[in-house]
């Protein structure tokens, strides 16, 4: 097993876990809705890294069998489709979160969830 193969074997997963944790920490400690939306996007990026790591094959080409022979070593195209769908779905949600945050700022002049304690149970 070459060094690169060994590295790629676990690196992607480690990065995915790290990015997920960083996003989670950001959301839990956030004091600003806009910052929080970006943390959500960071957390989401971990799913891309995870999906692409799962589909990665060392030495694999792009899975377009136009200029490489059929049956050649290629990375998994399914995870790319999943990632793309993931991006589209979450872009919708993220846009919605940002719109709501902008509206909050427009009406109350602050983005700090602590200052918006309207919802105390």
């Amino acid at each position: 097993m070459s060094g690169l193969e060994w590295l790629m074997g676990w690196m992607g997963y480690a990065v995915a876990i790290w990015v997920f944790a960083a996003g989670l920490y950001g959301i839990v400690t956030s004091r600003n809705w806009m910052h929080l939306a970006i943390c959500l996007a960071v957390m989401q990026s971990s799913t891309y890294v995870l999906l692409l790591s799962i589909g990665y094959r060392t030495g694999g080409a792009a899975p377009v069998f136009a200029d490489i022979p059929v049956g050649a070593r290629a990375v998994d195209p399914v995870v790319q489709a999943l990632t793309l769908t993931d991006i589209v779905v979450e872009a919708t949600v993220l846009a919605l979160v940002v719109v709501l945050a902008v509206q909050i700022h427009k009406h109350s002049g602050t983005l700090d969830p602590d200052k918006l304690r309207e919802l105390e149970g």
Binding site: I54, V93, P113, D114, L119, E120, G121
Partner: protein
Amino acid sequence: MGRAVTLTHQIPPLPIAFPLLVAAFLAAGRDFWPRRLTESLALGTSILNVILTARLLELSFAQPIVYWMGGWRPRGGVALGISLTIDPVGAGAALLASLLVVAAFVFSFKYFESVGTLFHVLMLVFLAGMCGFSLSGDMFNLFVWFELMGAAAYALCGYKTEDPKPLQGALNFAVTNTVGAFLALTGVALLYGRTGALNMAQIGRAMSSAGHSPDALALTAFAFITCGFLVKAAVAPFHFWLDDAHAVAPTPVCMLFSGVMVELGLYGALRVYWTVFAGLLGSHQAPLRGILMGFALLTAIVGGVMCFAQRNLKRLLAFSTVSHVGIMMMGVALLKASALGAIAIYVLAHGAVKAALFCYSGILLHRFSAVDEMELHGHGRAMPATGALFGFSALLLASLPPFGLFTGEALLGETAKRSGYGWIALVASLAAALTGGAVLRVGARVFLGWGDKRKVEGKKIKEERETSGGQTRTPAVMSGTAAVLVFAALAIGFVPQLKVGARKAAVDMTDTAGYQSRVLDRTPLPPPAPVRTPVEAGEFARGLATVLAAVALAAAALFQRRLPRAARAASRSLSAGIEPLRKLHSGHIGDYIAWLTVGVAAMGGLLTLAFR
């Protein structure tokens, strides 16, 4: 094949595609379609969806349906295409969603001010998302529909964009549920990495044929996917978003949130367990049952206690939903077909009662611009019919025999007894008594003017009205919708076919091997025989005791000052005792996500301990 057969075969994608098409049409011309056209078209679409999903339900009872998009059928046990796999539970969930959307459209007909064209567009997209979620046979699509119905729901929740309050509630809702969706997606990715499959039947077969005991990857995937769906189901400690969302969402939207969306979260967890993990984890059912039951009991109690402590009617009803989800979760946790049949009936009856109660909160908001219990004190004296139905719904919520919720709860109690979990029936009764008692208390205070008239502390809580027109009377569409829903909940206990159907549906859903061979090999196995659980007289006694307890709790809360000194002291120390619990529901998103993390860690840790 005749023409009729061909048409029937094309039904499965229609309940998803049709509302989306109409939504796009309405959105495209939202500046020039007259309101009447928008309303009629949206209502017509939802009624058509009821017809389509009812037909699917009927067909799936005869033989569960597998529909391959674009005709990409599986070859040699490998699913290349994307399937809709429709069994009676899935079709029933889609039908419930369609029925409640019809009810919400009728309720908001003509009078709702906040109802512009976009409201109808979002409701139709929400409907399509819920139907897609119920009918999907593909794991990744389950996630996509989960987020699509989520996105529509977040937008609907923050629909009144003038007011910062709904915005904050919608944001809490959106962020918490999106984190749940990421968890689910991570789990799906792990399963794909292990099995190379996305179709649930194929994943399930690959997972169980691996032959070894569940390892870290399988357990992580299970914990992530289950917790992801339980966020939507508002199971404690993932439930914090729910009361914020319900307190601010428009009334017709609340009907859908409580009546069907939350239950769909449980449906997702169930579907994934029975199609994907049942083979792998099936031999370790005892510890798994214990873990899931822990979450269920916590949910039922936290929801019930918080419900009783509220005075905002909408928030109170939201916590009652949390509590009832706990009861449903008990049925999920038993991991048995008969428990599943019980909660299928329970979900239907709960959906109808809860939607009716939200209708009444909408009516109160329309008449008096308030949903605060203290502020509404005695206001409803002139509405005896409304008050009577409201009180009756409260009794139904406390599972009054022999009506809808009781039928489900009694079956659940019997199944629990047979599984050695008989004592959970007491927790279910406590939860039902707390929530029923809370609603009864509100009813007595508002419609009868009973109870100590306490000064409203703090600032007056004015709610923004949702409706236009005179406040002197209740529009017929509003009171009519509520009455029909109450009647439906009442009738559910008296339809014997429903019990038979629920039994059959539950057995179909838990038939893991049958599901796999139907989807992958196209060879239906003989259906397993449904098991009948007779309900004994003890359950009737329990139901009556629950209702009496609810009445006693309501009376104690109403006439606190007339209680003996010892009881008063006890109630005071009790309310001091729940103060920390109230503080946890801080409305702060960071806390919510922290609790979500704790919940996932608890689920993962307990699973690891149990399966070591």
